[in-house]
């Protein structure tokens, strides 16, 4: 079985919001809505550090932390359990997805989601440009929508858009059931946590904080810096092994 999961290395995250923007473009997300957002922890506003500025020789303690947040694709998803009409469901590969044909727009799932990952089309969705962007059809007024782990890209053997377009390689996507996948290796190797894990939702999104990982493309036998030297062969092998999802007939990363 495949069970897709995402690892986000918050030490690598530079807070550039590329994942948020590329998600919006790829998934044709209406104006005024986001499926994927990068939150700033600590500061009063977006992209503001917590702590104080060093003044008069006093040591400041400014710190900038980013919290990229989107649908966590919970294994025990409250939204799936509350949906009265089975419009939100868990796929066999663990992705929590919405059948926009079934959705009646009752918004019980929005009440259920502890992460506020879901958005509702309160009016006729507006797209710029008007014909929309990306490869996903627009959703109508009156339904709830959210991140799909770019399931339309996975079908073609491509990583989700936010993963591919992260310039800091902070997002690693793959099969949690495959022990040799990068996500599994990173979860085994590094200290990870899940968002609001006390809620018992068991998200398939893991966050790494503390020790920085080698990042997405580094998939050689050794973790970066582990044994002091990384052979060129490892790097080449790693480069070849992208994408991280089982490649389809047309597979290949862009």
């Amino acid at each position: 079985m495949t069970s897709y999961g995402l690892v986000i290395d918050q030490e690598r995250c530079i807070g550039c919001h590329s994942c948020a923007i590329t998600c919006k473009q790829e998934n044709n997300v209406p104006m005024g809505q986001y499926w994927n957002r990068v939150l700033t922890e600590g500061g009063d506003h977006i992209d503001t550090p917590s702590g104080t500025y060093p003044e008069d020789g006093d040591g400041g303690n400014l710190e900038m932390k980013n919290q990229p947040t989107t649908c966590q694709h919970c294994a025990n998803a409250p939204c799936v359990k509350v949906c009265p009409v089975n419009a939100t469901y868990t796929r066999d590969d663990g992705i929590v997805e919405i059948d926009y044909e079934k959705c009646i727009g009752c918004r019980y799932c929005m009440a259920a989601c502890p992460y506020n990952a879901r958005v509702f089309n309160w009016d006729e969705p507006e797209h710029v440009p008007e014909e929309g962007t990306g490869d996903v059809p627009a959703r109508p007024q009156g339904v709830v929508e959210k991140c799909t782990f770019c399931s339309h890209r996975l079908e073609e053997g491509l990583d989700p858009a936010c993963v591919v377009n992260c310039p800091a390689d902070a997002r690693i996507f793959g099969d949690l059931d495959d022990d040799d996948s990068t996500v599994s290796e990173y979860i085994a190797e590094y200290e990870t946590h899940q968002l609001l894990d006390e809620k018992g939702t068991d998200p398939k999104t893991y966050y790494i904080r503390g020790e920085m990982t080698p990042g997405r493309p580094w998939k050689g036998k050794h973790m970066e810096g582990e044994d002091g030297e990384t052979s060129t062969a490892d790097v080449e092998a790693a480069t070849e092994r992208v994408p991280h999802v089982p490649a389809g007939p047309e597979g290949g990363d862009d």
């Binding site: 209406p30 104006m31 005024g32 809505q33 986001y34 957002r37 939150l39 700033t40 922890e41 600590g42 500061g43 009063d44 506003h45 977006i46 503001t48 919290q67 947040t69 409250p78 359990k81 509350v82 949906c83 009265p84 009409v85 089975n86 419009a87 079934k102 959705c103 009646i104 727009g105 009752c106 918004r107 019980y108 929005m110 009440a111 259920a112 989601c113 502890p114 992460y115 506020n116 879901r118 958005v119 509702f120 089309n121 309160w122 009016d123 006729e124 507006e126 109508p140 007024q141 009156g142 339904v143 709830v144 968002l195 609001l196 809620k199 018992g200 939702t201």
Partner: protein, 436 residues
Amino acid sequence: MGETVTPETDEGVVLPSFGVAGKIWLGALSVLLVLGFAAWIYQLQTGLVATGMRNVFSWGLYIMLFVLFVGLSAGGLIISSAPKFFHSEKYDGFARLGVLVSLACIVVAGLLIIPDIGRPGRLYQFLTSPNFQSPMVWDFGIVIGYGLLNIWYLWLLTRRDLAARGSRLALGVEDTEAGRERDRRLLFWTAAISLPTAIMLHSVTGWIFATQVGRGDWFSPLVAPVFIAKALVSGLGLLLVTSIIADRYTRFEANHEELVSLGKILGIFLAVHVVYLLAAERLPHAWADHFGFWAISSEFLVGDTVYFWLWTVLGGAVPLALLAVPSLRKRMSVILTAGALAVFGTMFEGIRLVFTGYQGVNIDASPGIPVGGEYAGVTTDIWATSGSYTPTLIEIAISLGIIAFGALIVTVGLRFLPIQKPSDAATYAPDGGADE
């Protein structure tokens, strides 16, 4: 109101004709109905952006009032079925009016869900693709079941009298001594089904909220018992209000002694709901936080919102005090006021519940959550780190329209159904008709 109608055909009907005041009342209800319907058409065209709800605060007035009206539907059914279950004739004079009011309230509750739905055209998915894990599906089933039960109960209570009057509403049932005996047995069994159904209705509605881990105070095992308590408070409050108003303005004759004793029961329900359950909910957390008399008492005496105070003081302490003073609680005006305040307070308890779920968010880092529906060019601030909500006029108009429909059900019921229980059922002859 009209005094010139033949008693023969209007036996038991408390509103034999509408009269001038009645027609003004009907006209006002019709205006509200039309306005509400127009507002709903508008909302269908523009989308739920016409409401005050947004992504962070995604349920509003419709759900708050749904909770209220589910609770209000408890009163009549419980007051009429509980004595019947124990073979008591007590409060029997209120049974018909009570069940009529219950029916109207559950219809209002069910209708309030429809404007809350983003795509009402897909509501059939409840039948074609139900998810039996969802408390909303349980509630959907039980609201409909409860509505049907009320219709059956009301018909069972009145069908022999309808038959005696030769009304077509008797649906061919005849008024015979044996039939009345059979109906008494059926009423016992209906009461036996009604009580657990009512308990389930309020519990399931509570569990819609109580099962949610992501919304603060909603996730509490006390929510379902609190829903039952507030159903008893508001349901009985509404029954008292309608009984006293009907007693004053129609031919409905309420037994004043029983009204006083129902008022006392309302006081007990209020004490359980507003004093005991509130304390039981808050004391453990307060105790665990900082142990000390003042710390504990301030923890549950100092509420956070104005809704809390409207509920606990105006809807709790004041009616409780009115009903506690022996010289006051015998006056009809005091019982009326206490009942109205109980209903009023319960409404704010529901509003408070929804607010506690949506005001705070679990992950409130900047910039927050896109609220949706607010985009008006690149400079729009679409973010929020907490929920805020004010209902729009559209929401208020739609809600008032639906409530007016409920009032219309009660009015029409008073006009065409024998709501007044005949003073002595045994005086009925097998061939129908009654002597007074």
